[in-house]
Symmetry: C2
Subunit: 468 residues, 2 copies
């Protein structure tokens, strides 16, 4: 029986990781896989897209150290409480115990903000908007899964400081817009919710989160944006003198997107043949497959290679002129998710044509002089279908429930995100948690009164789901 992502997502996903060359999980530390060439290039390309968006919005790229002294880490009480159980501790250099133990950053608020305190003197130094693309560390005790949950997490984290709370609120909006742009480029549907208080970032005033729906109906959180208010600027002394010369604490935000962006691309777009990469983030964008017959390799290459060489100046291309059969080549590059294949045999070429096939299987003959112009349209159409297929799946996995019974039936039968009422109490949230159902929160821009699906009291509409 064919292995499909709908039929057995977990097995399909593991197979993709290995066979498409994304990660190798056999590394001898749990939750720390090796990023293989193909997977790392794709992840790198995703983060370069994000970095471009952040650059354009005026963020500065830099790099902070990996280690935070215990004495510095321990300043914001909620933050410590949230992370204390899961940080990795560096305690020795050689055989010598360190005087001040070091935390491997689980996130960089506590690394960055003592330096912000040194950099900021007056309101003229604000705003500060910086980011880094790097790794963070958490001693996960839950089951790990490559690119979804691990002890080493590759991510991009942005951090900002502002003169007023209103500016921090506006910065949260900018962060949300940047991530929305990123996921639109990646053709990934998403919903943005305000996380309930019990699930916000430790130390934040509030947290907005992006979720998408995986093939098995569970949601994957693929980005978060936090308004930190003055919760960190007070203990870390991030303050400035305002226009009147009075000292004020800065208002801050932070936001991050991790390797889960790649997990989402693989899971949402892939099919039983393999991956489907959006054009801009595919390590190879166009594969050329010459169709040889009766040893006419030179003749075919002479006509097809010049096109390959011309397009290589603009795109990441590969010319697969190996001895394998065309079918084997198709199989290999489809598995790896290459979006466009250009194939041609002697007859096509003598007629001045090549065949362009996108990874959705859409096929068309294109006269050679038209390739450059047609390619743009073909890529647009490819993205359009990636996007509409993904959106159709996403939309068909959103349901409503008016009672706990309905909720439990729906979530197991139909799988996906359930709209239901919640009173806001931790007690009712815990009862849902007992059924492995999480409250994602109130959908952004949606305010709807609704009876709590657990206790029946007054409440508002929230999104609920089983989550990764």
């Amino acid at each position: 029986m064919e292995l499909t992502k709908a039929g057995n997502f977990s097995e399909w996903y593991s197979k993709m990781m290995l066979e498409a060359g994304i990660v190798d999980i056999r590394y001898p530390v749990k939750g720390m896989p090796v990023y293989m060439g193909w997977g790392f290039r794709a992840m790198d390309l995703i983060f370069r897209q994000l970095e471009e968006l952040l650059d354009r919005a005026g963020h500065d790229k830099l790099l902070f150290p990996i280690a935070i002294p215990e004495s510095v880490f321990n300043k914001e009480a909620e933050h410590i409480k949230g992370f204390a159980d899961e940080v990795l501790w560096v305690t020795h250099g050689g055989l010598t115990p360190l005087e001040d133990k070091l935390v491997l950053r689980p996130t960089s608020e506590t690394a960055m903000y003592p330096m912000f305190a040194l950099w900021i003197r007056s309101h003229g130094d604000l705003p500060i908007k910086v980011y880094q693309t790097t790794t963070v560390y958490r001693h996960e005790t839950k089951a790990t899964r490559p690119l979804m949950r691990g002890r080493e997490v590759y991510w991009n984290e942005a951090h900002t400081a502002h003169a007023t709370y209103e500016e921090a609120v506006a910065q949260v909006e900018e962060g949300i817009n940047i991530y929305a742009d990123l996921y639109t480029k990646l053709c990934i549907p998403f919903v943005v919710t305000k996380r309930p208080d019990h699930d916000k970032f430790p130390g934040a005033d509030y947290t907005y989160a992006f979720d998408t729906i995986m093939p098995d109906g569970k949601t994957l959180q693929i980005g978060t944006v936090h308004n930190l208010g003055t919760n960190f600027s007070k203990p870390y002394d991030v303050k400035y003198s305002d226009a009147k010369g009075e000292m004020q604490y800065a208002s801050q935000t932070s936001y991050g997107v991790s390797m889960r962006a790649l997990a989402a691309v693989i899971s949402v777009h892939g099919d039983s043949k393999g991956l489907k990469f959006p054009f801009d983030i595919s390590p190879i964008q166009i594969v050329f497959v010459p169709i040889y017959s009766k040893g006419n390799n030179n003749e075919v290459d002479a006509q097809l290679k010049p096109i390959y060489e011309r397009l290589s100046k603009q795109f990441r291309c590969i010319y697969d002129g190996s001895d394998r059969r065309p079918g084997d080549k198709f199989y290999r590059w489809e598995l790896k998710g290459v979006p466009i294949r250009i194939e041609a045999g002697a007859r096509d070429l003598s007629e001045g044509k090549v065949t362009v096939v996108d990874r959705n299987g859409t096929k068309q003959q294109v006269p050679m002089p038209d390739i450059d112009a047609q390619l743009k349209k073909i890529v647009e159409a490819y993205h359009e279908k990636l996007r509409s297929d993904a959106q159709a799946f996403f939309d068909s996995h959103i349901f409503e429930a008016n009672s706990l019974k309905e909720l439990l039936e729906q979530i197991d039968e139909k799988r996906g995100i359930i709209k239901a009422g919640w009173c806001g109490s931790l007690e009712c949230a815990d009862k849902l948690k007992g059924q492995t159902i999480a409250i994602l929160g109130k959908e952004r821009g949606v305010e709807k009164e609704r009876k709590c699906v657990v206790c029946g009291r007054n409440g508002w509409e929230a999104l609920l789901a089983k989550t990764y």
Copy 2:
């Protein structure tokens, strides 16, 4: 008195780090500075140049985990001996002691080769050539200096496996050629020596190293290439079945270039005004400075900005239209090392000309239609002078000594690299070490018999220096 790098290199260097925005050393862990925006972009651009060279030579980019279990790390005896005193140990996750303690990689041989053992089955799987650009960790007890010696080192490390020792020998040559290409692009003079046995990489058969000479005459090691033979493949079981079906151990190499490449660029090219970046690695390549007078800003901008916009499509440009005086702008961008400045006032523009000034101070008026064509020549001439100035300094700091007395006089008076005889004994090397003089080794391609400068016995010519 003006602060010059020749007069007081250490103070000049610290000033550059801070004022040009390279690193901030006030981070609260010794030897772990923050890479600031300008410095990190430049470093990133240097490593992208290197990665391009490695890609072209068929290396695959990937990323290995940061942590190596103690049980895996401890397999190659020489390697452990070399690193045991200076590795950082992760011992706890939260409050729980880890069963198998983790080493933060000081280099990645012991992380990568257990995976090589899984990836390699037959000779058809060879060669393997991979690299990663990442951080490594060493608990330095010596004085740290930003970009030169620290506890967190940003670098690019390449690792290979081959069927035969001869192929590993050839790979060492390829590694040397790649690094020579990199430093030629960066206009940095260097010498390549075979390190003496007592100073080779722990676990290597032999090590070649690149050194350049810093403004104070001390040498800085800026790259190393190791032939590991089968020293790691045996304990890590990296083997393959040969054409006859017999199991053979792979022969391996590894090579690395660190953030010291940026330290070299800053130190070798900088002057009392600030940095001088080679064009390809400068975060901003061209700064436009409009010369306003009597409020004619709009008029000047209307003519100069279109040039800025056109060149921005090809280069990293900035248009400094701020209110500051032109002299202040010049000062700022010279400090940051921007290679090309294009300036123009209303009169120049009305005559259809702009002034192009390179960071060496070479100035010329260029008619607007000729800018694109002239720019290429101007950048070439700029690099030519960077290169020849650096080479002249380098060449004038190489001396000869025929006795220990001569050696000690030369090294303190003239400063630089001394050619002198060495018998090859550790005893004589230790005597030199007592004078803080290191033996860099035999210069690559130079075999010359010479009496040992310490003991007078027969020996061969080696390069000696005080080193960073």
